[in-house]
C-alpha cells in the first residue's frame, strides 16, 4: 500500500491491521513518533492525519492510505522550526523528551483549529501524558506559539 508521509510517498507491504505507529517506527525507521501505551491513552504516538492529531497505536495502517500523514519529522518545514517548536525551545519544555513529539503534534493541531486558545481550550485538547510533568511549560509554550503564529500571519498578510 502507499502512504503519503511528510509529503513523500512510501510503498509498504504489511498487514492491513498493523497500527500506523509500528509501520512508521519499525518498517520505515521513522522513530520520532513514540510508543507509550498502545491503547490510545497517552498520546506519545500522535501524528497529524489530514491535519488532525491522531493516536496511531490503535489506527490500522489501511485507514491512513490516501491521507496526508505528518509526523514530528515533518513539522519543521524545510528545516525551519515551526512556531510551536520555537516556543518549545524558548520555554525549555522537554525533560526526558519522550512524550514531546506527541505533545508538539497535538499542539500544532490545537492551534490549527483554535488559533488563540484559552487555558480551558488547552486543558481540553492537551490530554497527552507527560510522566516528567512538563505541563505548565507546555501550556505556556502553546500561548507563545499562538502569538508567533499570529505575528508571522500578520507579516505575510
Amino acid at each position: 500500500m502507499e502512504l503519503n508521509i511528510n509529503g513523500k510517498s512510501h510503498n509498504i507491504t504489511v498487514e492491513d491491521n498493523m497500527p500506523l505507529l509500528w509501520v512508521l517506527r519499525d518498517e520505515l525507521n521513522m522513530t520520532g513518533t513514540k510508543y507509550g501505551c498502545g491503547v490510545s491513552s497517552c498520546g506519545a504516538c500522535t501524528v497529524l492525519i489530514d491535519g488532525v492529531a491522531t493516536r496511531t497505536c490503535t489506527l490500522p495502517v489501511v485507514a491512513a492510505v490516501g491521507k496526508e500523514i505528518k509526523t514530528i519529522e515533518g513539522i519543521a518545514a524545510e528545516g525551519n522550526l515551526s512556531a510551536v517548536q520555537k516556543a518549545w525551545i524558548e520555554h525549555q519544555v522537554p525533560q526526558c523528551g519522550y512524550c514531546q513529539s506527541g505533545q508538539i503534534v497535538a499542539a500544532e493541531s490545537l492551534l490549527d483549529a483554535t488559533p488563540e486558545p484559552t487555558d480551558e481550550d488547552i486543558d481540553k485538547a492537551m490530554t497527552n501524558i507527560c510522566r516528567c510533568g512538563t505541563y505548565q511549560r507546555v501550556r505556556a509554550a502553546i500561548h507563545t506559539a499562538a502569538k508567533y503564529r499570529k505575528e508571522s500571519a500578520t507579516l505575510l498578510g
Binding site: 517506527r25 519499525d26 507509550g36 491513552s41 525551545i89 519522550y98 510522566r131 516528567c132 505548565q136
Partner: protein, 760 residues
C-alpha cells in the same frame, strides 16, 4: 608555573577525589596515588571511547582542531538535565562558551565512578555509611541516581576543566617562551600580555603532553559566568524535532524485535510453551524462546512480536505466592506495627513514659500508602548484539547503572565484561526503574538464543507496569503529646514496610553486598532526624517480609515519609490550635536554613493573608538528597469533595545553584510526580498478580489537573544538594493538608481519589 595548591572549599571533596582514584586502582588502570585523577598520567592518557576527533586532556574532555570540546558526561540523561549541567561545570573552568560543547556518554569506565551514590543520606547515619561509599568507589560503579550527578560531579568536573585550562595555558606559554602566569584563558583562547592569541584547537596537541604538578585553584563563586546561569539545555533542540535517540529508537543494521511474556504471578516460572510451532508460523516471527525469566518471541517488527507473545499458551508454576492480595499485605503491615521493632534508629529522651503517663493527652494516627509503579514514559527495552563467536557484545540501553550493565550481561552470557560495549542513549524517564537489571538480563538471555543479529527486547506497557520493582506499600503509626504552648513533648513513629535497599542491592550485586533490612537508611530517610525541635522522640521500624520486588522510586523513603511526617505534624499543629506554618516555625530554632525556606514560602504564598472564599492552603517542609524543599498547595473547592488544585508554591534550598532553570523544571516535574501518586497512584494485588495493566487503570496527572507552580530558589553558598528528587516528597502532604483545611478531614491513606475526592 605557579599554581596555588589551595582549594576553594573543604576537605570532604579531596577525599572524594581520592576515592575516585581508588576505583581506578581496583581495575588496574592506575598505579600511583600521588596526585589525583585529573593529573594522574594514566587517567590523562585514558581517553574514553567515542570521544570523536581531537586530543583528550583528561577523561572528561577532548578538544578538536576547530575548538569543539567534546565532554564525556558519564551520567545518563533522563530529563534531569545532566547533559547541560555537568558540561556547565567544565565550561566554567575551561573558559569556553557552552555553544562549543558537544556531549557524549562514554563507556562506563572506572574514572567515572559515582562515589556519592551510596552515601547520599545524612552522613554517618550508620557505621556502614563510609564503608558503602568506599564500596562504590572500589567497584567503580558508574551510575545515575539518588540525585547525585551534580553532588558527585561538582568537584570532579570543575577540576577536569581547570586542569585542562592550565595545560593549555602552559602549552601556549611554551610556544611563546613566556611565563604561564603572564597568560590567561578566555573564551576558547589563550592570550598573552601582547594580546596574541592561540586557540584551544591549535594548542590541544601540545597541551596533552603537559604534566601539572599541582592542582589549579578553582574559581570563586563570585567569578562564575556559566555556573548559576539558566543555560539552555543542549539536548532540547533534538527533543523538539524527533531526532533525539532513545534506547527504543536504536536501529542498527538487521535489527529484530523481541516481545516478552513474563510469568503471571510473583515468583512464578514459565516452564513450557504449548503452541510453539503455531506461534513460530505467525507473520514475521523468527524464533520463540523460553528463558529463565520468561518466554519471548523474536520477530521482524515490534507489533508482530507483541501479537505473537500475547498468543503464547504457556504452562506456569505459580511460585507459591498465588494467594497474595492487597488485603493480606495491609494486614501484615498492621501486624508488624504491633511487633517489637527491628530497629530504632532514633531514640532520644523517654518517649515511652510520656506516652503512658495518664496526665498526657496522646494524639494518634496510622497512615498508609500503596505500592506504586514507575511507569516511565518509554517502556523498558534493551538492544543486545552478541557476536556469533562470543568475541564481543554490543548493547544499547537507557540504564541508570551503566557499569553494572556489563556485569549483568556478563552474568547471563558468560562472556567477559571487558568484551562488552555499552551505549547509553537518552532515557525516556528513569525514576529509579532504569537502575534495575531485569530488562537488561532478559535482553541478554533472548539475544543468546539468536547470536549475530541485534535484538531489541521490549516490554509492552502492560509487561512494564505488571513487572515493575515497585515503591513499597508502607504504614506509619504516630503517637504524640503536644503541650498547651505547642511544644511537642513526645513524638513516636513506628513504620512497617519492605526494605528497598536490601531488595534492590540483592538484585544488583547479590545478597552479600546488600545491607540488611535493619541497616536500610532508605527506610527512615525523611522520617528520622527531622529538623523540628522535639524533646522526646522515637523512630522505629519493622521489616515486612514479602515476595514482592520493591525498588528505588523517585525520592525513595521520602516519597512516603514526607507524607507521613508532614501530615502528622499538621495534626500536632491542629491539636495545639496553632497555625501550621507558625507551629513548624516555632520548632526550627537552630536550623536557620529550614527556617529561611519556610519563611520565604510563607511570603511567596501569601500564607498569612486572609484566604479568599473557597480557597484553602496546605504547607509541607522536607529535606531529601541534600536539599530542603517547602511547598504550599492552594486549592479551590468547587463542589462537595470536589477540588481544583490551582497553585503550588515551592521554595528550594539546594545550596549552590548550577542551572536555575533546570532546578525550576525539576521542581515543577517533581510536584506533578508527587501529585500523581497522591491523587491516583496505586498498584494492588489479587491472587499474586498485579491488577493494573496500563494507564487507564494506573492514571496520572495530566495537563488539566496540573497546578501552576511558582518556584523560588534560595541563594545559599553551600555545597550543592540534589534536585531530581527533592521536589516530589512535599507535594502529597501539602495537598492533603490543604484538603484538611478545606474539609476538616484528615487523609491518612493514599491515593486521595479512593477517599471519594474528585479533582477538576
Amino acid at each position: 608555573m605557579t599554581i596555588k595548591k589551595e582549594r576553594t572549599r573543604g576537605q570532604k571533596w579531596t577525599r572524594r577525589a581520592f576515592i575516585g582514584t581508588g576505583g581506578l586502582l581496583a581495575t588496574g588502570l592506575v598505579i600511583g596515588v600521588a596526585g589525583n585523577m585529573y593529573m594522574n598520567k594514566a587517567v590523562k592518557k585514558y581517553s574514553g571511547t567515542g570521544m570523536g576527533e581531537g586530543e583528550s586532556l583528561n577523561a572528561w574532555l577532548r578538544i578538536a582542531p576547530d575548538g569543539t570540546v567534546t565532554v564525556a558526561v558519564p551520567r545518563a540523561e533522563m530529563g534531569q538535565g545532566v547533559n547541560t549541567s555537568l558540561p556547565q561545570l567544565i565550561a566554567e573552568e575551561l573558559e569556553v562558551d557552552m555553544s562549543r560543547i558537544k556531549v557524549i556518554h562514554p563507556q562506563p569506565d572506572a574514572p567515572y565512578a559515582n562515589t556519592f551514590l551510596l552515601s547520599n543520606s545524612e552522613p554517618n547515619f550508620y557505621d556502614g555509611y563510609d564503608m558503602m561509599e568506599k564500596v562504590a568507589g572500589t567497584l567503580a560503579l558508574v551510575t545515575t541516581g539518588g540525585s547525585t550527578s551534580i553532588r558527585d560531579g561538582y568537584t570532579n568536573m570543575r577540576y577536569a576543566g581547570a586542569t585542562a585550562r592550565e595545560m593549555l595555558i602552559s602549552a601556549a606559554a611554551d610556544k611563546w617562551a613566556v611565563e604561564p602566569t603572564s597568560c590567561r584563558a578566555e573564551n576558547g583562547f589563550v592570550i598573552n600580555e601582547k594580546n596574541e592569541r592561540l586557540s584551544y584547537g591549535e594548542l590541544a596537541l601540545a597541551a596533552k603532553e603537559v604534566d601539572l604538578t599541582e592542582l589549579p585553584e578553582l574559581k570563586k563563586p563570585s567569578e562564575y559566568k556559566v555556573i548559576g546561569k539558566p543555560v539552555q539545555r543542549l539536548d532540547i533542540p533534538e527533543k523538539v524535532n524527533g531526532t533525539a535517540e532513545f534506547s527504543i529508537d536504536t536501529r542498527p543494521e538487521g535489527l529484530l524485535y523481541a516481545a516478552m511474556r513474563h510469568p503471571e504471578t510473583i515468583g512464578g516460572k514459565i516452564t513450557s510453551i504449548n503452541n510453539k510451532d503455531a506461534i513460530s508460523k505467525m507473520p514475521g516471527v523468527k524464533k520463540v524462546v523460553l528463558t529463565e525469566f520468561g518466554a519471548a518471541v523474536i520477530a521482524d517488527n515490534t507489533w508482530r512480536a507483541s501479537n505473537a507473545a500475547k498468543s503464547l499458551d504457556v504452562e506456569e508454576e505459580d511460585g507459591g505466592n498465588g494467594d497474595l492480595s492487597t488485603a493480606m499485605i495491609s494486614a501484615k503491615m498492621l501486624e508488624t506495627l504491633d511487633e517489637a521493632p527491628l530497629a530504632t534508629p532514633e531514640n532520644e529522651g523517654d518517649v515511652e513514659s510520656i506516652l503512658t503517663d495518664e496526665k498526657s493527652t496522646v494524639i494518634e494516627g496510622t497512615y498508609e500508602v500503596p505500592y506504586l509503579a514507575h511507569a516511565a514514559m518509554e517502556p523498558l527495552n534493551c538492544t543486545v548484539k552478541i557476536a556469533e563467536d562470543n568475541s564481543s557484545i554490543e548493547t544499547w540501553v537507557g540504564s541508570q547503572g551503566a557499569s553494572l550493565v556489563k556485569t549483568w550481561i556478563s552474568d547471563v552470557t558468560n562472556i567477559d565484561a571487558d568484551k562488552i560495549l555499552v551505549h547509553t542513549p537518552y532515557l525516556g524517564g528513569g525514576f529509579g526503574r532504569r537502575g534495575e537489571p531485569d530488562f537488561i538480563k532478559i535482553a541478554a538471555a533472548v539475544s543468546m538464543e539468536m547470536k549475530g543479529v541485534p535484538i531489541q527486547t521490549i516490554f509492552s506497557r502492560e509487561e512494564d507496569m505488571r513487572n515493575d520493582m515497585y515503591r513499597p506499600a508502607a504504614m506509619s503509626r504516630f503517637k504524640a503529646v503536644v503541650e498547651e504552648n505547642g511544644d511537642i513533648n513526645a513524638w513516636d513513629n513506628m513504620m512497617a514496610l519492605q526494605s528497598v535497599t536490601n531488595n534492590a542491592i540483592t538484585r544488583w550485586m547479590g545478597s552479600m553486598m546488600a545491607p540488611s533490612p535493619a541497616k536500610d537508611i532508605m527506610t527512615i530517610e525523611g522520617a528520622a532526624h527531622l529538623p523540628y525541635n522535639i524533646k522526646n522522640k522515637r523512630v522505629a521500624f519493622g521489616n515486612v517480609e514479602l515476595p514482592i520486588k520493591v525498588g528505588f522510586w523517585r525520592s525513595v523513603g521520602s516519597s512516603q515519609n514526607a507524607y507521613f511526617t508532614e501530615s502528622f505534624m499538621d495534626e500536632c499543629a491542629h491539636a495545639a490550635g496553632q497555625d501550621p506554618y507558625l507551629f513548624r516555625k516555632s520548632k526550627l530554632k537552630g536550623h536557620p536554613r529550614f527556617e529561611a525556606v519556610l519563611d520565604k514560602l510563607a511570603e511567596i504564598s501569601n500564607w498569612t493573608s486572609p484566604a479568599e472564599p473557597n480557597r484553602f492552603k496546605g504547607i509541607a517542609l522536607h529535606k531529601s538528597f541534600g536539599s530542603i524543599v517547602g511547598q504550599v498547595a492552594e486549592i479551590e473547592k468547587v463542589g462537595e469533595k470536589e477540588f481544583k488544585i490551582d497553585k503550588f508554591f515551592c521554595v528550594i534550598d539546594c545550596g549552590r545553584i548550577v542551572n536555575p532553570d533546570t532546578i525550576e523544571a525539576q521542581m515543577e516535574g517533581g510536584i506533578v510526580f508527587g501529585l500523581s501518586a497522591a491523587m491516583f497512584g496505586e498498584i494492588t494485588w489479587t491472587d499474586g498478580s498485579v491488577d493494573q495493566y496500563n494507564f487507564p487503570q494506573y492514571d496520572m496527572v495530566r495537563l488539566s489537573h496540573s497546578p501552576k507552580v511558582s518556584t523560588h530558589i534560595m541563594d545559599v553558598d553551600e555545597y550543592p544538594g540534589g534536585v531530581g528528587e527533592p521536589g516530589t516528597p512535599p507535594a502529597a502532604p501539602a495537598l492533603t493538608n490543604a484538603l484538611f483545611a478545606a474539609t476538616g478531614q484528615r487523609i491518612r491513606s493514599l491515593p486521595i481519589a479512593k477517599q471519594g475526592y474528585k479533582f477538576v
